[in-house]
């Protein structure tokens, strides 16, 4: 077979890649309006979210949206929260300014999120003994146009009309998202909603912030799944083998859509065991492969992670967390799988666990996941969760030419040994047919050639080799991001980043600052000095036991307070503010 060139062959001695340094986006809006839309599954909430996010962005606003939904395809009650502001906003609130309920059950579902002054719009047929409702004929109009599902576009018209925004922008957004499926009907329904707002002039609406189209125009609107997907593509991913599982399927769908554009195998495997074994076969023969899953599927991959450990094959696993145990709450969110990610797989071997906290980090760490896996020939687990994967936010343009394309594989010579002992513990990684050598990959304890051995002397050397690799990854660990300064540190990891940032801004207490971890395992003890020097450490985690807190404690960090939650929701800024204020008022 003719040998073909490998794009760029760095070695472990080549300096690590750097990702572009970008300015940390402060949660710097001055005012915002929150809108909660509630309705049954199948009633077009997702379309409405897409249309409104786009239309508000085109109107010059910063937009953030997130959803909570039941594990059913039709019926039930789901919500989409939209926040519109004059600056970056990337976190959800519990109480809302405006609520649109598409049916009576939806209103009951959201009633705890309404304040006395929340404006509630609902269909004519919806009544409630305690909630003051502004009724609009959305069901009637939608039926007249031909389908109850046009209610969602009616709601979009109501909102644009109430705020007096440019209807042409909304029309364009509807065209974008409904082209080829009832575009005209949706436009007609929207216009009816818009028209109806003329009769609602007495409503005391919250004031919209000032539009800043010169800032929002160049920004990009996407969900966490898409941002992660762009990161994986930037990392050179050319194979994804997965079994669908909420909330990880967004990445699988994204990669499938990209398979039309790039050389990229997207294979739905028969089970998660096959998924990760395919990933191993891919990397062994030179692909950059990944799998996507959630906790239950990840549990099935444990043995294959162990194989990656002993055979020193890189793998990348996108693990989008949802609450367990077992089936748990399939469509909801939690940061509950950190310990599973750290401890999965039998035997002693290293791994790296990354947990991005915003869209930019989703891209950067998607890229880095592949880079690090290849560089250290180790599993990299990328932790997301339903909240981060499904939330839509805005980010600045990313310059993909900055993501250096490396392939840490070496042409082999006749005397090639896959597991050559080196000073660093990293052996040059060959792949079949690139060079003269024979590439032996083994699940057994093996000698340098890869041949099975039971020699205790070789076993000791190979254990030491794998241990050395762990030490190397500790040295490469990225520092936590430290935002602000003070003597009370609020510690976050992964998806809670922007929620904590916003709460710090809301409380506006000079003692508070933020320490955010996106490289969560293994930690470099030197990076924790800042927490050792801080008077009071408070950790915020969306799980029941404080998994990251335990890790920090094992490193000798004193955690004075922890705010934990495990009800299936993400944190909400207004609720978290109250919790934090209670804690810090007693700190002198």
């Amino acid at each position: 077979m003719k040998n073909v060139a490998v794009p760029f062959q760095p070695t472990i001695s080549t300096p690590p890649v750097s990702v572009p340094k970008y300015e940390e986006v402060a949660q710097s809006h001055t005012s915002s309006v929150s809108i909660l839309i509630a309705g049954a599954a199948g009633k077009g909430l997702k379309s409405l979210e897409n249309v409104l996010s786009d239309a508000f962005k085109q109107s010059g606003y910063f937009v953030f949206s997130t959803k909570e939904y039941m594990s059913r395809v039709r019926g039930g009650s789901n919500t989409t929260l939209l926040r519109i502001s004059d600056g970056p906003v990337n976190a959800p609130c519990w109480h809302v300014d405006i609520c649109i309920a598409l049916d009576a059950d939806a209103l009951t579902h959201v009633q705890e999120r309404l304040r006395d002054d929340t404006i509630v719009l609902a269909d004519d047929e919806v009544t409630h003994e305690h909630i003051s409702i502004t009724n609009v004929p959305m069901l009637k109009v939608a039926k007249e146009i031909g389908n109850v599902n046009y209610m969602n576009s009616y709601a979009s018209g109501i909102l644009f009309g109430l705020f007096g925004l440019d209807k042409n922008i909304l029309t364009q957004s509807i065209s974008t998202f409904f082209h080829e499926k009832s575009e005209q009907e949706n436009k007609e329904s929207m216009l009816k909603g818009l028209e109806h707002t003329k009769s609602l002039i007495n409503l005391q609406l919250p004031k919209l912030p000032k539009p800043l189209p010169h800032l929002t125009e160049s920004m990009h609107l996407m969900d966490g799944s898409s941002a992660s997907g762009f990161g994986f593509l930037a990392g050179g991913c050319n194979m994804i083998t997965s079994y669908p599982m909420s909330p990880s399927t967004g990445v699988l769908n994204f990669m499938a859509s990209m398979s039309k554009e790039f050389t990229l195998l997207v294979e739905q495997s028969e089970d998660e065991i096959a998924s990760l074994n395919m990933v191993l076969g891919g990397w062994y023969s030179g692909a950059r492969a990944m799998t996507s899953t959630s906790g239950g599927g990840f549990a099935l991959m444990s043995e294959a992670i162990s194989l990656a450990g002993v055979s020193e094959i890189p793998v990348v696993i996108y693990l989008a967390q949802r609450p367990g145990p077992a089936t748990g709450l399939p469509t909801r969110t939690e940061q509950g799988d950190l310990n599973l990610a750290i401890h999965s797989g039998h035997g002693y071997f290293g791994r790296i666990i990354l947990a991005p906290g915003d869209l930019q980090e989703c891209i950067d760490y998607g890229y880095l996941a592949f880079e690090l896996a290849d560089r250290y020939q180790t599993p990299v687990i990328y932790l997301s969760d339903q909240y981060l994967a499904d939330s839509i936010g805005m980010l600045k343009t990313v310059d993909f030419s900055h993501y250096e394309q490396r392939r840490y594989i070496q042409p082999t010579t006749h005397s090639y040994n896959r597991y050559t002992l080196t000073d660093t513990g990293i052996s040059p990684r060959g792949v079949p047919s690139l060079g003269e050598g024979i590439v032996v990959s083994s699940s057994h304890e093996h000698d340098e050639r890869g041949q099975s051995t039971e020699s205790y002397q070789i076993r000791e050397k190979m254990v030491e080799k794998r241990k050395q690799k762990i030490a190397l990854t500790v040295l490469e660990a990225y520092k936590p991001k430290v935002m602000g300064e003070g003597n009370i540190a609020l510690i976050s990891w992964g998806s809670t980043k922007c929620i904590v940032s916003e709460v710090i801004k809301m409380i506006d207490d000079p003692r508070l600052f933020h320490v955010h971890f996106m490289w969560v395992y293994p930690l470099n003890p030197d990076h924790l000095d800042i927490l050792k020097a801080t008077q009071t450490n408070i950790i915020i985690e969306n799980n029941v036991t404080g998994d990251f807190e335990s890790i920090l404690k094992n490193h000798g960090i004193a955690i004075a307070h922890k705010i934990l939650q495990s009800n299936g929701f993400n944190f909400f800024t207004d609720q978290l503010k109250v919790e934090l204020k209670k804690i810090i008022k007693d700190i002198v």
């Binding site: 762009f230 023969s285 392939r407 024979i438």
Partner: protein, 281 residues
């Protein structure tokens, strides 16, 4: 007996007289006679006595997990379609632990050769029943004899319309060689189920038993006829050996890679295109 494909300095861990020795020799001879370069050939195996085979033959190899050779082999073939890929293991590995992958690999149809050493017993774990053990076979675990129906890999593969379905008996060496060569020449998934005796743990299905209880498919057997292949596959005493069915259809890697066969390690994505796609958001 030395062979150029022997891996040097190895200590073969099979019992004297094991049927695996014959299969090892068969594979080396077929690779040599078909002039398949060892540097372009990968053998993927799982766990078991049969799965030790690639440790004794000097090609690329991937020693994987119990039952998981097929998904690994499938993705290796996709990553580099120019490689000759073999998935090899025993009846417990491929039909028991890896049964799910057996079905779905056939559905995908990657161009690989799937060699299954079938001795109707577990060797590595010392003598328990395998999925292909015959009813009544007694072991330390199946003390009153096997109660389950034996797994018939040939009829299962045919039900899934596998492109190449064959069974041989290592005791009938020249016939086995002819069939294995055909399997390598077939474009697509090719199953070669090889009867071989376990001389330590299976005192029933011996060399003599396999020779006495099998017969070569008639020369007029229609390999392209699925229905007659299935009726042959269901024959139990004696058991036919040979190529039951052969039909080429588009392979997994071809359906995705289209006409490009470049190894994925030689490719990077077009970052400008990525930029354009990002800008659409």
């Amino acid at each position: 007996m030395k062979h150029p494909l022997d891996r040097t300095d190895t200590n073969i861990a099979w019992c004297p007289g094991c049927g695996n020795f014959g299969i090892l020799r068969l594979l080396k001879e077929v690779l040599t006679e078909l002039e398949l370069d060892s540097q372009d050939t990968v053998i993927v195996s799982g766990i078991g006595q049969a799965s030790k085979t690639p440790y004794y033959i000097n090609t690329h190899m991937f020693g994987g997990l119990h039952g998981r050779a097929l998904p690994v082999a499938t993705s290796i073939k996709f990553s580099n379609p120019l490689l000759n890929v073999i998935a090899e293991g025993g009846d417990g590995d491929m039909y028991g632990e890896g049964g799910n992958h057996f079905m779905h690999t056939i559905r995908r149809n990657p161009n690989i050769v799937h060699i299954v050493h079938n001795n109707m017993v577990y060797g590595l774990t010392k003598g328990q029943a395998s999925p292909t053990s015959q009813k009544g076979f007694t072991t330390a675990v199946q003390t009153e004899g096997v109660k389950s129906e034996p797994f018939n890999p040939i009829s299962v593969a045919l039900a899934l319309k596998a492109g190449f379905v064959s069974r041989v008996n290592i005791g009938n060496y020249s016939h086995a060689k002819t069939v294995l060569k055909e399997a390598f020449l077939h474009k697509g998934y090719a199953l070669v189920d090889i009867f071989q005796p376990c001389v330590v743990f299976n005192k029933i299905n011996t060399y003599k038993w396999f020779n006495d209880c099998t017969y070569e498919l008639e020369s007029n057997h229609e390999k392209s006829n699925l229905i007659s292949a299935m009726s042959k596959a269901l024959e139990e005493a004696p058991i036919p050996i040979g190529i039951f069915y052969q039909h080429e259809h588009q392979t997994f890697e071809k359906s995705i890679r289209k006409n490009t066969e470049n190894a994925l390690y030689s490719l990077t994505h077009d970052l400008k295109k990525m930029q354009t796609l990002f800008e659409r958001y």
